[in-house]
């Protein structure tokens, strides 16, 4: 996942070299790779990710993209030392716009660069309509261990408002096919709070998702991002703006039905069957680990330095073709900023935060519970996580 809006920052040096401080301790923390695939067959009205349809690519193509990723890997190898990768996550866009062979070629390139640990978690996102039993089998054989399908909803009208191309039954079906292809770890993504979605619609979506036997569900409230087609429709009054109280009710429904189906929350928007089913790559983000983000617009973090690549695939390939880092901007976090991040990320997790140094009295009663020296959000607190973070930090 790569946002459309890039933060401000200082420029990345042309050779992409990191300050020494960032590399101190590298290797003792987890190390992941994110790979961004910026292609989509069509753009969904709510989406503000960095992705392009064929007509928007300005001459960039998949072959050029694959070459550029390999070029970025060569550059990266010169910047962070050899250290086998713990997790890989291929996101988009629509990663399955690449063939299984192309996706596997990129895994090989990562392996050739840093190596991949034996029990690595290797995830790709996929659209339900763009996978087949054969392609799923090829992905599994090529080394992928986990698949994340964008189901969004089991309601046809909701899928239509979201501009999704698949039919309501396709995502659970694809999940079942993935399991049959050998994936033990399958995630379904859901979106709630879409204008026109009823409580029953969302209950149905939850039931269809858990009914497919997946070991992981992510559920997100719909966010109307500036500049999207959805935002324009809301502005024109064609669609109602999502309502926070409705979203709260949906969240409670998700918690109730997912828990009943044996999936437990481990992050505000993520539920998993057990420890092994949790997405280790995302946990690495939330626990302040290191990762290299490959591809146009991808974000990276190593040792308190965050940087992000140029967004357009053509520009990205050009920069690498000139032997330059595709990094557009970066920020070297201060101790204070790292502290803020550790709280805003750590609080989202079921494992919570150590209470040492936290002024819990600033938080409204009923939002946090303390156990074994750690503070964790209550169910009500999960819905108020940002307010709790603000109260803890200000």
């Amino acid at each position: 996942m790569v946002m459309a809006q890039l933060p401000d920052g200082e420029p990345v040096p042309e050779n992409g070299i990191l300050p020494e401080s960032a590399l101190a301790g590298f290797g003792r923390r987890g190390f992941g790779v994110y790979l961004h695939v910026p292609f989509c067959a069509s753009r969904c009205g709510y989406c503000d990710f960095n992705t392009y349809t064929a007509s928007e690519l300005g001459g960039a193509d998949i072959d050029g993209y694959l070459d550029a990723i390999e070029a970025e890997l060569r550059l990266a190898r010169g910047i962070v030392p050899g250290r086998p990768v713990d997790t890989i996550f291929v996101g988009g866009g629509t990663p399955t716009m690449l063939s299984p062979a192309q996706l596997c070629r990129l895994l090989d390139a990562i392996n050739a660069t840093w190596g991949i640990v034996g029990d690595a978690e290797i995830t790709t996102e996929a659209n339900p309509e763009s996978v087949t039993p054969q392609s799923l089998r090829q992905l599994r054989d090529g080394g992928f261990t986990r698949i994340s399908l964008g189901m969004q909803s089991a309601s046809a009208p909701v899928l239509r408002i979201l501009d999704r191309q698949h039919t309501p039954g396709r995502a659970p079906q694809a999940a079942i096919q993935a399991r049959e292809a050998g994936f033990t770890h399958v995630n379904l993504d859901l979106i709630y709070g879409t204008p026109g979605e009823s409580a029953d619609d969302f209950d149905e979506s939850l039931d269809r998702a858990t009914g497919a036997g997946v070991d992981h569900v992510s559920a997100y409230s719909l966010i109307v991002e500036d500049g999207t087609r959805l935002a324009a429709r809301v502005r024109r009054g064609e669609l109602a703006a999502p309502d926070d109280d409705v979203a709260a009710d949906r969240y409670l429904a998700a918690e109730q039905r997912l828990t009943k189906a044996g999936l437990n929350w481990y992050e505000v928007s993520n539920w998993a069957a057990d420890e092994q089913a949790r997405c280790r790559h995302n946990l690495l983000y939330w626990r302040g680990g290191d990762w290299w983000g490959l591809g146009p617009g991808a974000h990276s973090h190593v040792g308190g330095v965050r940087w992000w690549n140029v967004k357009h695939p053509k520009r990205y390939a050009q920069r690498l073709g000139e032997g330059k880092s595709p990094g557009l901007g970066r920020e070297i976090l201060t101790a204070d900023q790292r502290h803020i991040e550790s709280i805003l990320l750590g609080l989202r997790l079921a494992e919570g935060l150590p209470t040492a140094g936290l002024d819990l009295a600033r938080v409204q009663p009923g939002l946090l519970e303390v156990k074994d020296g750690r503070a964790t959000l209550t169910l009500r607190g999960r819905l108020m996580a940002d307010a709790v973070v603000r109260d803890l930090l200000t």
């Binding site: 996942m1 790569v2 946002m3 809006q5 933060p7 920052g9 994110y34 559920a219 997100y220 409230s221 966010i223 926070d244 109280d245 979203a247 709260a248 969240y251 505000v268 928007s269 995302n282 983000y285 939330w286 990762w291 983000g293 617009g297 991808a298 974000h299 990276s300 973090h301 965050r306 992000w308 920020e331 900023q337 803020i340 991040e341 805003l344 990320l345 989202r348 409204q364 939002l367 999960r382 819905l383 108020m384 996580a385 940002d386 307010a387 973070v389 603000r390 930090l393 200000t394």
Partner: protein, 622 residues
């Protein structure tokens, strides 16, 4: 320099040659443009230096088209045609403020004149304030010359309005002079008529000097410039002058006449109008209405009519940014130098922090001061809802003067007195019903009603001032499609059934929202403010009850429901920087929140809730 000839020598002008007059007109009826033409025709302004609205000095005046501070311009004129052709005269045109808050200043300007030009837009007819000033001029026995302006406009109806003016001042419609300030048509004839019709001043040239101050202006380079009309005797440049109200004696640094730039002279004498500079730095030391005499040979009695300016309307002014408080103090100190009517003292509000309780002559005065503070001193301000001054008599007989609702006593109250005004409304007769309904709704009692002409009506009411300062003018305009005009003057006080309504957030009174209102309106005020606040205050992490209460009795209640969701669903690798920056921004935003107990209230909510634009009346109509 103006051409100097014959008798036009300041200090040595024959009273018989002097004509002191003012122009009574409504805003935008063309007074400044007519004055411009007179400056040109009399030759006192070089044509190359002429600019529009020459006499309006302050930017705000020029932009808003209103004249706040009057000035006096000395112009020579020789009758050009008709009877007494060739007769030389010296005209002193004394400008008068054109708005309701400055009645006292107007009365002093009128007292400096023997005649008045009643200037009325031939397309609009007379307005209430003009009418009020006309009555004032007639009470002062001024000779009135009726003039219809803008006769070049296609919409002009000079015959109709000549009838109206003739009816009002008891003359023949043909006596109304028709001019166009814009083209200059008819203006020379008007100047001739001023010399022919207006009486010249009568005073005792050999008596001890007495001069009346009709204006006093602070100039950053020269200190206070005092405008006077000499009634008796003579003031010479080397004299030491004495203010008769205080006995203070000042050295004269300069005296002279304005023509229309200052012209120093050796003396100003009986019947003349001129300026004095003493080096004082505060207009309070040189007050409008006071009598100036000569220290070495003082007059025995002051001229009558002096009054201390009395604030009628109070409002709290608070800087949006608390750290601007010292700047606000400094700005008020500066404005005060030029405004004898402005009073203020520090106050603090639990909700708004440190600010000043300021007293004004009226709403326009408040608006002008506020605008000047914001524009000239770059301050961002919150002003609390304006209120009048109440006199509260306790059951034990003690008396409390309340200029701020928070001072309203809590003990046993015997009676409450509120100031009243005598209001005059002029309206086309189609709207008489609407105006009466409005005035009665504002506790007005009808004093009388007259037809000025077949379709224009004058309504006179006694009304509480407190009702007028609460968006009465806006309501009047909207109910009469903008046609009605309003004037009012203080007329004393009355006992009334008033209560203080408090607004409570989570049980805690917010001082800035307390108001003193009539018992019958308490409920409407309470529900309106509570409903407004429910819209304006963002949901908090807990439920916030909003109550309106009289004492401990709750009369209205609203609830801001607790927020249930405040979390961004997604937070992955690429979101982290954005999320952290958002948090940092929210931390800054929190600093701009005012805390009322545990409730965070954005400043915008205070500003919006305190604005009177959404009154109970306007709301109930929607």
């Amino acid at each position: 320099m103006p051409p100097t000839f014959g008798s036009n020598q300041p200090g040595a002008t024959e009273p018989a040659a002097i004509r002191n007059f003012c122009i009574i007109a409504h805003i935008d009826h063309g007074k400044s443009t007519l004055a411009d033409r007179m400056l040109q025709l009399t030759g006192v302004v070089d044509p190359r230096l002429m600019r529009a609205q020459y006499l309006d000095r302050m930017d705000i005046e020029r932009e808003r088209g209103i004249t706040i501070k009057s000035q006096a311009v000395r112009m020579p004129w020789t009758i050009q045609e008709g009877e007494r052709t060739g007769e030389h005269a010296v005209l002193n045109m004394i400008d008068t403020p054109g708005h309701v808050d400055f009645t006292y200043e107007v009365s002093r300007s009128l007292a400096a004149c023997e005649g008045a030009v009643l200037l009325v837009d031939a397309a609009q007819g007379i307005e209430a304030q003009t009418l009020a000033n006309l009555y004032l001029a007639m009470e002062n026995n001024l000779t009135v010359i009726p003039v219809l302006n803008k006769i070049d406009l296609p919409a002009a109806q000079p015959d109709k309005y000549a009838e109206e003016l003739a009816h009002l001042i008891g003359c023949d419609p043909d006596d109304c002079i028709r001019v166009s300030g814009k083209t200059g048509l008819g203006v020379p004839y008007l100047l001739d008529e001023i010399v022919r019709q207006l009486p010249s001043p009568v005073g005792d040239a050999s008596a001890p000097a007495r001069a009346m101050i009709f204006d006093s202006v602070y100039d950053i380079y020269r200190g206070v410039v005092t405008y006077v009309r000499v009634i008796d005797g003579k003031i010479e440049a080397r004299d030491r002058i004495k203010m008769m109200s205080t006995g203070a004696v000042h050295e004269l640094l300069e005296l002279g006449v304005i023509s229309p730039e200052p012209v120093k002279s050796k003396a100003i004498s009986v019947g003349e109008v001129g300026y004095l500079i003493t080096g004082v730095k505060d207009v309070r030391q040189s007050r409008v209405g006071d009598t100036v005499t000569i220290n070495s040979r003082p007059a025995k009695d002051a001229l009558g009519g002096y009054k201390d300016p009395k604030p009628m309307v109070y409002s709290g002014l608070y800087p949006l940014d608390g750290s601007d408080y010292p700047d606000l103090r400094e700005a008020l100190d500066k404005l005060k130098l030029n405004d004898a009517a402005l009073v203020y003292e520090p106050e603090s509000s639990a909700a708004l922090g440190f600010g000043f309780r300021c007293g004004f002559l009226g709403l326009l005065h408040l608006e002008i001061i506020r605008e000047r503070l914001e524009r000239e001193f770059n301050l961002e301000l919150i002003s609390t809802a304006p209120n009048v001054v109440y006199r509260v008599i306790m059951e034990d007989g003690s008396e409390v003067t309340v200029t701020n609702p928070s001072e309203y006593p809590t003990g046993k109250i015997g009676a409450v007195h509120e100031p009243t005004v005598r209001a005059t409304v002029l309206t086309p007769n189609d709207f008489v019903g609407a105006v009466m309904e409005l005035c009665q709704g504002r506790r007005g009692s009808l004093l009388g009603m007259d037809y000025l002409s077949a379709d224009r009506v004058e309504l006179r009411y006694t009304m509480p001032l407190g009702e007028i300062i609460f968006d009465f003018f806006d309501q009047l305009k909207s109910r009469t499609k903008g046609y009605a005009s309003l004037d009012y003057e203080p007329s004393g006080e009355q006992e009334a059934d008033l209560v203080k309504v408090d607004i409570l957030l989570q049980g805690e009174a917010v001082d800035a929202f307390s108001a003193i209102v009539h018992k019958d309106k308490a409920y409407a005020y309470g529900t309106t403010i509570a409903a407004k606040l429910r819209e304006l205050i963002p949901r908090q992490q807990f439920e916030v009850p909003i109550q309106a209460a009289i004492g401990s009795r709750v009369i209205a209640r609203e609830t801001i429901r607790a927020i249930r969701k405040d979390v961004l669903a997604k937070c992955y690798g690429g979101d982290i920087s954005r999320k952290r920056k958002l948090l940092e921004k929210q931390k800054e935003g929190k600093k701009r929140m005012k805390m009322v107990g545990r409730v965070e209230v954005p400043q915008e909510a205070f500003i919006a809730a305190l604005s009177t634009s959404e009154s109970p009346d306007s709301k109930s109509k929607k």
